[in-house]
Symmetry: C2
Subunit: 439 residues, 2 copies
C-alpha cells in the first residue's frame, strides 16, 4: 500500500528526479539542509503563493511546511511584498545601522514580555550560540542544560542529544571538549529534570528549552516551564526560551505570553524576518548590556554577533511589516490559525482512529501539528516518546499526503498560516480519510 | 584639527544622533553588529544605490564599505533587482529544495578551482564553524591553527586572538574548553608559522586563513600560502581558505585562482549572495561527502547545516544573477575595479606622503584597501603590525573622510564596486588631499 504511494510520487515528480540527480553531482546528498531530503527524493519547488506551492513538474500542493514554519502570513503576503517592492531599488544590504532594523528591534521589544533589550543577527543557530555565551558571561558558570531531542541549530555547544540514540554523538567532528559542559534532561519530567539540575547546580549557567519542542512538535506543560523558572531562580541560572519556532507564532506575545512564564533570554528567528533571513536575542537589560562593546575591555564584555547581513533592510522591512500586520490583526490571525490547528489535529486523529495496529496521535498546539503513529498505547510528551512510534509509517503517511496534494515535510512539524482556509483543512482531513481507507 | 571634523560630523548628522539615542534604549550599545559603531555615533542609512548611500539627514556619501565588502556590483544593481522583482510574488522562502539554489551551487562549482562539491548555508560564521567540523571529521584529529588577527565569525572554535592583545580572551562567556584545540600563528611568517605547525603536527586537523586578512586588509604572500599548502600536505591536514571576503572578489576564480594555490575546503559568503544573506562551504568531494546524511549512522557522518533560510530563492537568485554577470563580464569588471583599487591606494599614499610624523600606508590588493598610520618606519604584513600604527588617527582620518562625503567604515577595509568611477576615485583622493592640508 505505502509502496503504491511512493510509486505514484515518483510518477508525478519526474522532473524533480532529474534535478535531484543533477544535485547529487554538486551537493553532498543532494541537499544543503539535511532534513529537506526525504526518500526517494524531494520535489523541487519553483513557486509559492499564499498556502500553495508548485513544484517543477507543475504539481500544486497545500503547504503545511511553510518554510520551516516561518511564514505565518503565508507565501509572499501582500503587506510584505508591497514593502519590498517599494524598497528594492534603494539598497537591499547596507551593512550599516539603519532605521528599519531599529524599528524591528522596537517592535520585538514592545510585544515580547521579556524583551527589555534586543539584538538582531543572522540565524537561529547563531542566536542560541550567543545566548549561551551571554548566560555564561553573566553567571560566570559553565553548564548549559538542554532537552533531550531539543534542537537549537548546529552550533557545537547545543548540537548534542538531538536525535536518537541520545547517548551517541550527533556528528563526527564535534569534540567532547566543546560539549564538556552541556547536559541533557528529559522534558515534561519534573523529577528527571530536577535531578539533573540539582546535580549541576553549582556550575549551572543556563537552561535552554523550546516551549514547543520542534522535534515531535511537543508542547511543554506550563507546570514544567514554571518548574524550570523556579529552578533557575533557585540556582542563579539563566532561563533561555528558544522561541525560534514559537516566537510570534503562539500569539503576539509568543510562547512566554501564551504560557505566562517569563524567561531571562529569548532567542528568535523565523516569523520575525517575515520570510527573510534573521535571528535575534532578546532579554533582560542586565544580561544583554554585557554585549555593549562601545566601551570597556574585550575580556570584560560579551562579544555577540553580528554577521555581514545582520540588520539588512530586506529582513528588517519584511519582519516589521509582518509584526505590524500581526499587531493590527492579532485577534483575527491567531484565533483563525489556532482554530484551524484544533480542527486539523482533531480531524486527522478522528480519520485515523481505530485503524488496525495504528495508534495515531497528532501533537501540537495552536497552529502547529504533527501526526505520530504509536506502536503501543500511550502519549507523546517528550522527544523520547518518539522511540515508541513507527517513524517509517509516519514518513510514508506524509509521502501519501503529498500524492494527495498536501505537503508536510515528512516527519516534521507543520504550521498553519493566515492564508490557510477551512476548505484547506477540510481537504487535508479528506486526504487523511482516503489514506486511512487504504490501510 | 581632528576635533573639528568630529564637530562637523555631529553638525551634519543631527537626526542620526536622535536615532542612536533611541537605539540605546533597545539595543545594547545601540548596534547589533559591534564594528558598525564608531564614535561619537554612526549615521543611519536610509537608501543606497550604485556607489552611493544616503543617511537620514539627507547626506550622500560615496560608499567604500559596500555592505561589508559584499556588493561587488554596487547597491541594488539592475541585473539583481530585475530578477528579484520578477520573483518576489512567487515566494521568497520555500524551505525546500529548489532549482535556484541548485544553479547557484553549480555556478560556484564551475568557477571556484577547488569546488568539487558545494553546500549552501546562511552565514560565513556558520560556514567556517562547519568547515572545521568537516576537517576534524575527515582527519580524525583535533587542532585547528588560525591566524593571529584572523576573523572567521563569532563561532567559539575560531573566535580567538581576533583583536589585540592576542593573549587575552576575546569575550567573556567563551570557555577555555571550547578553544582547547585552537592555536594561532603569525601570518606571512614562514618560520613562526612553521614552528607552530610542527608542534601541532600529530593532532593537526586543519589550517584556516583568509588569503587577504580582513583585519588590516593584508594580502598574504603567495609563497606563504604555498608554504601552508605544503605543510598541510606533509602533516595530512586540511587547508581551509576563508574566502568570505575574497570569493569572487579578487577574480572570478577567487583568491585561490588569483594566487594559484588550491585549498581543500573554501568558505564563502558576501559576494555569492548578491547582497542577500548567505554562506557556503566548497571543497573536495572526499571531504564534503562526509556530510551526506541521506544514509548511514549519525555518528559516522558529519552533520553540517543547514538553517531555516538556507537556499532561499531570494539569496539564490540574487547570487546567481551576480555570478552570471561576473562570468559574462569578468575581464571588464575585474580589470576595472582592480585598476581603481591600484589608483586609490597609490593616490591616497601620495596625498599623505611626507606629512609630519605620519607614515601612511594603504594596504590591500585588487579592489580592497585600507589606510594605516604607522608610528615608525615599516610595513604592514600581518595584523600584529597594526600595533605599530596609530588606530586613533586612523579612525579620525576616516571620520574626516565622512565629512567630505566619502564613507569607509572607520578602521575597516574598504571595497570598490563595479559602479565606482574614475571620478569617484579622483574625489576620494581630493578629499584625502584636503585632509592632508589641514594636518
Amino acid at each position: 500500500m505505502w509502496e503504491d504511494y511512493v510509486k505514484k510520487y515518483e510518477a508525478i515528480t519526474v522532473k524533480s528526479k532529474e534535478l535531484y540527480k543533477r544535485a547529487l553531482k554538486v551537493i553532498p546528498g543532494g541537499v544543503s539542509h539535511n532534513i529537506r531530503f526525504f526518500p526517494p527524493y524531494p520535489f523541487y519547488t519553483v513557486k509559492a503563493r499564499g498556502s500553495k506551492i508548485w513544484d517543477v513538474d507543475g504539481n500544486v500542493y497545500t503547504d503545511y511546511w511553510m518554510g520551516h514554519m516561518a511564514l505565518i502570513l503565508g507565501h509572499s503576503p501582500e503587506p510584505v511584498v508591497r514593502c519590498i517592492r517599494e524598497h528594492i531599488e534603494n539598497g537591499f544590504h547596507f551593512g550599516t545601522v539603519n532605521p528599519y532594523a531599529l524599528e524591528l528591534a522596537e517592535a520585538i521589544q514592545r510585544n515580547l514580555p521579556s524583551a527589555e533589550m534586543v539584538r538582531l543577527g543572522c540565524s537561529g543557530t547563531e542566536a542560541t550560540m550567543y545566548a549561551v555565551r551571554l548566560a555564561r558571561a553573566y553567571t560566570g558558570k559553565r553548564i548549559v542544560v538542554k532537552a533531550e531531542g531539543g534542537w537549537h541549530g548546529g552550533n557545537p555547544i547545543l548540537h548534542k542529544a538531538v536525535s536518537a540514540p541520545y547517548d551517541k554523538p550527533d556528528s563526527l567532528g564535534i569534540l567532547e571538549d566543546e560539549q564538556r559542559f552541556t547536559r541533557t534532561m528529559p522534558v515534561n519530567d519534573v523529577e528527571g529534570s530536577g535531578l539533573i539540575l540539582r546535580e549541576c547546580r553549582n556550575d549551572l549557567a543556563c537552561v535552554i528549552v523550546e516551549p514547543v519542542v520542534g522535534s515531535g512538535c511537543i508542547p511543554l506543560d506550563r507546570d514544567y516551564l514554571l518548574f524550570l523558572r523556579e529552578q533557575c531562580d533557585r540556582y542563579n541560572a539563566v532561563l533561555i526560551f528558544d522561541e525560534v519556532i514559537t516566537g510570534f507564532r503562539l500569539g503576539i506575545s509568543s510562547a512566554q505570553g501564551f504560557y505566562r512564564v517569563k524567561p531571562d533570554i529569548t532567542t528568535l528567528g523565523k516569523v520575525i524576518g517575515g520570510g527573510f533571513p534573521i535571528g535575534a536575542i532578546a532579554g533582560c537589560s542586565e544580561i544583554l548590556k554585557l554585549a555593549d562593546l562601545t566601551s570597556g575591555r574585550k575580556w570584560e564584555k560579551c562579544w555577540i554577533g553580528g554577521g555581514t547581513f545582520s540588520c539588512n533592510p530586506m529582513s528588517s522591512i519584511a519582519g516589521l511589516a509582518t509584526i505590524e500586520f500581526l499587531e493590527e490583526n492579532a485577534n483575527q490571525v491567531y484565533s483563525k490559525i489556532n482554530k484551524l490547528g484544533d480542527e486539523a489535529r482533531r480531524g486527522i486523529d478522528k480519520a485515523l482512529n481505530g485503524l488496525k495496529g495504528l495508534n495515531a496521535k497528532t501533537t501540537g498546539v495552536g497552529s502547529l501539528l504533527l501526526t505520530h503513529f504509536l506502536k503501543e498505547e500511550g502519549d507523546i510528551k517528550s522527544p523520547r516518546d518518539r522511540l515508541k512510534t513507527d517513524l517509517e509509517i509516519q514518513r510514508n503517511f506524509y509521502i501519501a499526503l503529498i500524492t494527495h496534494g498536501v505537503f508536510f515535510l515528512p516527519g516534521h512539524a507543520g504550521a498553519i498560516s493566515y492564508t490557510h482556509t477551512e476548505e484547506d483543512i477540510r481537504r487535508l482531513i479528506e486526504a487523511v480519510e482516503k489514506i486511512a481507507e487504504g490501510i
